[in-house]
Amino acid sequence: MDFEFHYTEEQEEFRKEVRAFIEENAYKEPLTVVDPMIIPPEMWNKGREIQRKLGAKGWYAPGYPKEYGGGGMDREHRAVLAEEFARIRLERRWPVASAGSTEVSAIHSSGLMAFGTEEQKRRFLPRLLKGEWYGFQAFTEPDAGTDEASMKSTAVRDGDVYVVNGTKVFVGHSPPPIHPDYLYWPAVTDPTAPRHENISAFFIPGDLPGITYTPLDLIAAEGSKWEVTCEDVRCPAECLIGEENKGWLVTQATLAAEHGGGGVIIPQRGSLVLRFIDYCKKTLRNGQPISKDPAIQDILVQLYIEDRVTRLWGLRNFAMAQGQIPRVRYTGTQTALHNKRFSPQLGKAFMDILGPHCLIDDPELKILIGEVEHQVRLADVTHIGGTPETQQIMMSRGLGLGRGAARNAG
């Protein structure tokens, strides 16, 4: 076993090229914005501009096929890209909106890739995989959260268009007033069909008449969140993804990609946990470093363990996706579940070690430029991309429990 990446000279040359690009586009000074819900629109726009430049180079969706606008790159080159983007993000000189390599619209392509017609792929994929389009994943509704299949949105065929009605909530990332180029919107197309066989998926152009965007006021999220309403929106029929009434499969393929089954490379250095440990070593309380208290040491080491597990499981999933080790069906959701369970643990640790200092983002007193306060808020936001309980249900299936078990027992 080897837990380190090794690169050829050619790959190291590629790294230099990536670094030069990053330096040309990055901010010169570290950013002080930590809350992605309140990033300024000009920063968002700068991020989008970079994404389009990345797309032109094939670096926006580097692992996707070249013929559809991806980079068609092998895993070593992708690892170089991922490492370099991670590095600049940790230096906090990269616009928040630009996650670097594979981004939201590339994830939106998964369902299309699996179930779209060739014609649909040619029409949509290049725009998604080159980062030209930015979209909202509009799945959740006011009365259909975890039970996504109970959605109420409807789309009724009327000649060349579908007439769409309904409301989606907690969607998007862009700061007001920036609207998306498209809405990735599943809706009921056959009210008489059984569950899961009644839904179709659409890429609705974001500027059609009848669409209303309302920003939401939330305690924390991974970006600004919106409520979007469609009222008799006339969406061209060619915006259907896959076949009519097969939309459930399309959205599930997207969710599988979103949940990170392919593994991620997380750099060892620079995580919030490591920076917090460093803070505790350097900050004095009653004349000695906070980290000298044995009770605090134990909390810090437990955080360190979970942080290490996150990194190791990322490598494990990556190795599995590459076929290095046998595939185990529950590992993708296990990683998502772990991150969801760890977030509250981290928030609680901040409260135990820092007391009320972790509750403020006062310009002079905030800790780690406000990331600590932000994490304490995020600790109560574990539902994004599916509640931990939903992850548990999916993991159970991966373990051969639940539905599978009932079937096996006949």
Binding site: L300, S396, L399
Partner: protein, 380 residues
């Protein structure tokens, strides 16, 4: 980055799996567990023949120069089968210490004998003042002409009931630093003044109390330098602990597989209990513990095998032991939650695993001890 096993490792794993399936079913484990010696000479002989005992020793001392990861693959299988016996104590723990500290002559004399299973050694370290730090070593060794005289008590000595020799950690000097003044001695089990008794208790597996009443040990039996024994133990302990972790990872895997199988086949309220979300939650807990333990252990093995800087090795090994001790214990407990009544019946193997998990929980340092060692490595 490549997390796959080598071809040799795959082969070792298959050999070990087949051998243990055939030779060490759980009924054999139970039989050995219930015997007075906790030892099967038949299995011991066969495993010595397979070469597992001396695998990581250099060839000149009867070994195969294998890596720790090679050996860990086998120990993981041993843990799955819950193979009982002094394999770890003698070959891994004492073998590593002798390999690290012994003179050429001591190594020639002892390592091939350990590898062939002719000699069984065990470590006598902890005392009535229980703990794995140097401050807990009080048993005294006083020079007397060409030998040392040992007085004191070692408690919770694994496998002493079957060992021929004890590797005894003794105090030869007092100073402000408890790590100074510690010396290691090879002591024959039959020495005059040495007595050993098995401590009773269903859970404490083959734990013994060994009393040293003016036991005379020749100076030639000192292992390493006088007074400098403690720091010399660091590296052999790292190697042994990570192998012990591999054994426990195997135990966790078995507990997960067994519990899933039980939950899929046990019918209550007209359906398999695996359909109940509380039951699923327990099993998910097992899978989470297992995978944390597994990958921290593998990473530690890799760091040891590639000789990463000392601080990194210490940290990785203690991370692995802190998490793996917990994992094995929790996998056992969660297994009992799912099995309920069936799990407490000795006609079913679950208890053997949960019992072993409790014995190994604190062996060579409990989770808190190792978290504090991580804190040290992180310079908190």
């Amino acid at each position: 980055m490549d997390l796959s096993l080598t071809e040799t490792q795959e082969m070792l794993r298959n050999t070990a799996r087949d051998f243990l399936k055939r030779e060490c079913p759980w009924t054999t484990v139970k039989e050995i567990d219930e015997s007075e010696t906790g030892f099967s000479p038949d299995l011991w002989g066969k495993i010595a023949e397979l070469g597992w005992l001396g695998m990581i020793f250099p060839e000149e001392y009867g070994g195969m120069d294998s890596t720790l990861t090679d050996l860990a693959v086998i120990y993981e299988e041993m843990g799955q089968a819950l193979l009982p016996g002094p394999y770890f104590s003698s070959a891994m723990l004492c073998g590593s210490i002798i390999h690290e500290l012994g003179t050429d002559e001591q190594k020639k004399q002892l390592l091939p004998a350990i590898a062939q299973g002719e000699k069984i050694l065990t470590l006598a370290l902890t005392e009535p003042d229980y703990g794995w730090g140097p401050e807990c070593i009080h048993l005294s060794a006083t020079p007397n002409g060409g030998s040392f005289v040992l007085n004191g008590t070692k408690r919770f000595v694994h496998d002493a009931q079957i060992a021929n020799q004890l590797l005894c950690v003794a105090r030869t000097g007092e100073s402000s630093n408890p790590a100074d003044g510690i010396t290691l001695f090879l002591v024959d089990k039959e020495s005059a003044g040495l007595s050993s008794r098995n401590l009773s208790g269903f859970l404490g597996e083959k734990l013994n109390e060994v009393t040293f009443n003016s036991v005379e040990v020749p100076a030639a039996n000192v292992l390493g330098e006088v007074d400098k024994g403690w720091s010399a133990l660091n590296n052999p302990f790292n190697r042994a602990i990570v192998i012990l972790c591999a054994y426990m990872v195997g135990g966790c895997q078995h507990l997960l597989d067994r519990t899933i199988e039980y939950a899929q086949t046990r019918i209550q309220f007209g359906r398999p209990i695996a359909a109940f979300q509380w039951v699923q939650g327990y099993i998910i807990g097992q899978a989470n513990h297992l995978e944390k333990a597994r990958w921290l252990t593998y990473e530690a093995l890799w760091k040891m095998d590639t000789d990463k800087p000392q601080r990194e090795q210490d940290e990785a090994v203690s991370l692995a032991k802190a998490v793996t001790s917990d994992a094995f214990h929790e996998c056992g407990h969660l297994g009992h939650e799912v099995h309920a009544g069936v799990g407490v019946d000795k006609k079913y193997p679950l208890y053997l695993y949960s019992k072993k998990a409790k014995t190994l929980y604190s062996y060579l340092g409990d989770p808190y001890f190792h978290r504090m060692r991580v804190a040290q490595a992180l310079e908190l």
